[in-house]
């Protein structure tokens, strides 16, 4: 089944608004495409259209949070946190107020618009800031849970959302806890751990299936929370498999894979291969999938990386 992460966010935001009267939403002229329009229609008095003004978006939201509200400030990730990094640092994070930065069309989500609109740096930008929580849901169902959890966690939080319909990988009844990674797939005798975040996890699951058909057992971890990071689960499977591949629709430099490497280098060093964009900008394409292919984020690339990292393990 294919559904979009942004729709999960939009639907959950309405539900959250019903549950908690302090939840408010702001957008920078992108209510429809970031899916806050449902909230805006339902709660017009709690919705604020700030115009094409991302810096204002974040800092006005911070003022609302200082007044006890739970503001969701949404626009494309390239603009916020892209343009608003220092505003987020100062007015959300140093102030330590629960502003929710909603970065839509993250990764190659806006592929048709080219490199300027493709957000491949936002995880790095957000995870480096103290106090920030960084959540990157992998599908429609998880986006709903992530939105609810972000709304109620009392902390400045970045919610990374992608645009397109993508496979629904999780079930409504699956547990979701901020900071606790979920195991999406676990072979009885795994040789490699694949850690992914966001909808690119579908490629990780395809890769796992094919690897297991070839006799290589795999664990697939859904690292939906990049900060705080689930050290325990990462170390546990690093110990079991001794080899890790990280997969993200983001720059390798500073991204989710880097965060995993920081944890494992300190606690239990194992060989790691990194699937992600390698220090280059994106470009236009009709669909994100073409860019996943071009930049080496597909099933085939993950399988190759898995075989390579297993070889590295055995040659140690």
């Amino acid at each position: 089944m294919m559904k979009s992460i942004r729709d999960g966010f939009g639907e959950a935001l309405v539900e959250l608004g019903e549950k908690n009267p302090d939840v408010v939403a702001l957008t920078a002229d992108l209510a429809d495409s970031t899916r806050v329009k449902g909230f805006a229609d339902k709660f017009p008095d709690r919705f604020f259209q700030v115009g094409v003004a991302e810096q204002g978006l974040v800092t006005i939201a911070a003022g609302m949070a200082e007044a006890g509200k739970i503001p969701f400030a949404s626009t494309y990730a390239v603009f916020s946190p892209g343009r608003t990094w220092e505003q987020i640092k100062v007015t959300a994070a140093i102030n330590n107020v629960p502003v929710k930065i909603v970065g839509a069309h993250a990764g190659f989500g806006a592929s048709m618009y080219g490199a300027t609109h493709e957000s491949l740096e936002d995880i790095a930008l957000m995870r480096v800031i103290p106090n920030m929580v960084v959540i990157s849901p992998c599908d429609y169902e998880e986006a709903k849970k992530a939105t609810m959890a972000a709304g109620l966690n009392g902390k400045p939080t970045y919610l990374r959302l992608s645009r397109h319909d993508s496979p629904v990988l999780t079930k409504p009844e699956d547990s979701f806890e901020v900071g606790k990674a979920n195991v999406l797939h676990e072979d009885k005798n795994p040789k490699v751990t694949i850690v992914g975040t966001g909808p690119i996890l579908s490629e990780a699951l395809y890769a796992a299936k094919e690897l297991e058909e070839g006799g290589v057992g795999v664990v697939v971890i859904n690292l939906h929370t990049i900060k705080p990071i689930d050290e325990q689960t990462l170390v546990r499977f690093a110990k079991i498999t001794g080899a890790v591949v990280t997969v993200e629709e983001h720059q390798v430099i500073g991204g989710m894979g880097s965060a995993v490497a920081e944890v494992l280098a300190k606690n239990f060093p194992v060989p790691i291969e990194f699937i992600g964009v390698r220090d280059s900008f994106g470009e236009s394409s009709k669909t994100p999938d073409e860019l996943w292919k071009k930049f080496g984020l597909k099933k085939e690339n993950i399988i190759e990386a898995a075989k390579k990292v297993i070889l590295r393990k055995s040659s140690q």
């Binding site: 604020f48 700030v50 115009g51 003004a53 810096q55 204002g56 978006l57 800092t59 006005i60 939201a61 911070a62 003022g63 609302m64 949070a65 200082e66 007044a67 006890g68 509200k69 503001p71 220092e86 505003q87 100062v90 007015t91 140093i94 102030n95 330590n96």
Partner: protein
């Protein structure tokens, strides 16, 4: 409070500012000294219990800290800890470190937006914000100007400390603001222009601002950069410089 008492407090605040910056060996005296009367007016008379104050140009915190100390919101002996490791009185004010302030500030252009966001949900109170004229270079500030007008935040009252100096020179040299009054009028703000060192004019402007029930108000407070210390007045060199011992003594002598 009567004018004579306010003037006494303002003079003491100026002494505290010089003392604090001299002892710390760092700080921003020019803007701190120009903003004294507005801050004293806010804390000693204008602000009611529910009202809030957002300082946007956080580098003038020596003035804020000194006024808060005069008001008893900060213990006086703490003033000397300004910029010390572990102090509540950070080099730029921090919301989570100093009780009683609304926002972290220092990076310019961010204060009015937070005050405006707050004002949306504080309709039973007045939300005051002080900005500098220098920070009117920042785009973020003007985004908040539009927002406040659109949402008719008549409970938002902004003071611009119009001292006509920024870091590297005068406003006219570095980035002229043109006709600030007309800019705000064009943005549908209620605009009042005053002498920012005159307590009666400050009070009257706030009363007038409160009578406008449909628009936010900006009070352009024309001030003298470095006010009260002869050699600092209108001299951009004193944007971010601590006086040496001789200069310190000279400043204090002029403030008795």
């Amino acid at each position: 409070m009567d004018k004579i008492n306010l003037e006494k407090i303002a003079n003491q605040v100026r002494k505290d500012i010089i003392e604090l910056i001299y002892k710390a060996g760092s700080g921003h005296p020019g803007g701190s000294l120009s903003s004294v009367e507005v801050l004293v007016s806010l804390y000693f008379g204008i602000m009611g219990e529910r009202d809030k104050f957002f300082l946007s140009d956080g580098h003038v915190c020596p003035a804020l800290y000194s006024v808060m100390a005069e008001k008893g919101l900060i213990a006086k002996e703490k003033l000397s800890t300004y910029t010390e490791l572990g102090s509540e009185l950070q080099g730029h004010p921090e919301r989570t470190k100093l009780k009683g302030i609304m926002n972290t500030s220092g990076p310019l252009g961010l204060g009015l937006a937070q005050a405006a966001g707050y004002a949306v949900f504080a309709k039973d109170a007045y939300v005051y914000c002080m900005t500098s004229d220098g920070e009117h270079d920042e785009g973020n500030h003007w985004e908040a100007v539009n927002f406040a007008a659109k949402y008719k935040l008549s409970n938002l009252i902004q003071f611009v400390d119009r001292n006509r100096v920024q870091i590297e020179g005068t406003i006219e040299e570095i980035m002229p603001l043109g006709n600030l009054k007309e800019k705000y009028e064009a943005a549908d703000w209620n605009v009042i222009e005053i002498n920012g060192h005159d307590f009666e004019e400050i009070d009257a402007a706030v009363e007038k601002a409160k009578s406008d029930k449909s628009s936010p108000t900006v009070i352009i407070a024309n001030t003298t950069f470095g006010k009260g210390v002869s050699y600092m007045e209108n001299n951009p060199d004193w944007h971010a410089k601590a006086p040496n011992e001789e200069e310190y003594k000279k400043a204090m002598e002029g403030l008795v």
